[in-house]
Amino acid sequence: MKKLFFGCIKRLRIGILIIVALLMVLPLWFIITGSFMGTGEFQSNFQPVLDNTTGKVSWPLLPVYPTLRSYVELLLDSPKFFVVFWNSCKQVFPSLLGQLMIAVPAAWSFARFKFRWKKALFTLYIILMVMPYQVTMVSTYLVLDRLNILDSHLSIILPAAFSTFPVFIMFKFFKSIPESLIEAARIDGAGEWRIFWNIGIPIGSVGILSALILDFLELWNAMEQPLNFLKTKSLWPLTLYLPGISTDKAGITLVASVIMLSPALLLFLYGQKYLEQGIMVSGLNE
């Protein structure tokens, strides 16, 4: 009797997990299948929503007449899309590179050295990390204005490059390198730079990748900064371009969505381990 009861509980648990998981993944499924719908099918399915006509919208689990037309239209006939996609890349990757060059040594410094004010400084970094964007948006605007780089890719890249979030994530990983390993290198006569380069970076690479993946997801979807700091529409990234596509071309929106989410999805397939570890350390107390 007791065994039967626990068997039921176990089934129930799997059942609930499957339902929640489906709810989570369903939007992705919709986007991907929707991107293969032809204009006619798209119209007949979504007209009640797009044009406010009567009747109910429907979204078949698989398109009835799958076609690549929307893909062709977006990739061959919309030169603007490439400009926008390239804008996103021009903003995200230099930001990540900047973070790499700036945050990695900073995290190393916090994790491996003792110095005055360290604790206060680190607390400051944590506070800056959790500050909502809205609090710093005026100050960022003022400094970008002063530096005369408003309305340029730099206005997105520079503030992102000095983000303190990756410092915090990488710090946790560097901290876990055993002191004895570094002592041994010191005794062998290795300089501080060599220890950082030959021991810190290889061993901490998991942490570096974790931080980069989390930051990529964040920057790739950044909307507030470009909305506030980029007036010229030709500089806009994907996040601002996508919502602007008119509703009669919604099929293209879905294709653009698929293209936009594929780098993130690839990261999930190949980097989930790093992503998870990055999230995990962000939650561990020192």
Partner: protein, 281 residues
């Protein structure tokens, strides 16, 4: 002494950036919050007075607080339940984890198109409800608050679940074994071992979850624009954005200082609570 020098050499690029891009301008904002933008004349607390008595500000503070108080506990509980359910699942554990994390990869702008299709008057949700004989409504324009709560939970469930899993990993399995020998059932184990073992995790999960509530602005803005027709989702983020558009620097500076002050205070309080409870362990 030597160590200090090396430490600063490694830290300098980052710290210089923080000074130039955050600290100095924020100091400037602090100064400006007490003065008039154009003349630079010192006006004392005038700007703060204007902000605090501004109707839009009051409403935004109310809505934002209501949103945080609704969402964060709900998210913490749901993600904790999920993580406990998934924790000792042998097979398929990774598959579930991936599924729960997928919403992080979905771009806000494509989520918005989906939400329109799902929550529209003629949308999928109402179609589903009508099958059960329930009258639907125009969710996005009349029930925007629950829709936004749902969005937030959907997006952050996986992230928080992974955080909890890290906490669960940190609890030594020998404790459970010992309790098992003493004849404790699953519920006892959860109540007396798992929950107390997670106290240190609670602090950081709460802080990160609160921070993430500010990011729902993206969905809210893309769905409903700068002035949502359902004003229950008019939040501080909208207010800041709209003041920014009209370049209301004076008001923004004062409001930024107020919000920064509240954020730091909340963190400090949570930290103290965390220390008190953690200290008793």
């Amino acid at each position: 002494m030597n160590q200090t020098k090396t430490a600063w050499a490694f830290l300098a690029p980052s710290f210089l950036g923080v000074i130039i891009f955050v600290l100095l301008p924020f100091g400037d904002v602090f100064r400006r919050s007490f003065s008039e933008t154009i003349t630079g004349r010192y006006v004392g607390l005038d700007n703060y007075n204007t902000v605090v008595h501004n109707e839009a500000f009051k409403q935004a503070v109310y809505n934002t607080t209501r949103f945080i108080i609704t969402c964060v506990p709900l998210l913490l509980v749901l993600s904790l339940i999920l993580s406990v359910m998934i924790f000792n699942l042998g097979k398929h554990k990774d598959l579930f984890k991936t599924s729960f994390l997928i919403p992080m990869a979905i771009p806000v702008s494509s989520a918005v198109f989906l939400w329109k299709v799902v929550f529209h008057q003629n949308g999928l949700l109402n179609a589903l409800l009508s099958k059960f004989g329930i009258e639907g409504c125009d969710w996005l324009n009349t029930k925007a608050f629950p829709v936004l709560v749902f969005t937030y939970i959907w997006k952050n469930l996986g992230y928080d679940m992974v955080l909890w899993l890290a906490g669960l990993n940190g609890i030594s399995s020998s404790l459970y074994e010992a309790a098992g020998v003493d004849g404790a059932n699953s519920w006892n184990k959860f109540w007396y071992i798992t929950l107390p073992g997670l106290f240190t995790t609670v602090f950081i999960v709460t802080v990160l979850s609160i921070l993430n509530t500010f990011k729902v602005f993206r969905e809210a803005y893309l769905i409903a624009g700068p002035y949502p027709s359902d004003d229950s989702i008019y939040m501080l983020q909208h207010l800041f954005n709209n003041w920014f558009t009209s370049l209301d620097i004076q008001k923004m500076c004062a409001a930024a200082i107020i919000v920064a002050f509240v954020v730091v205070t909340v963190i400090m309080i949570l930290q103290q609570v965390d220390k008190k409870i953690g200290g008793e362990e």
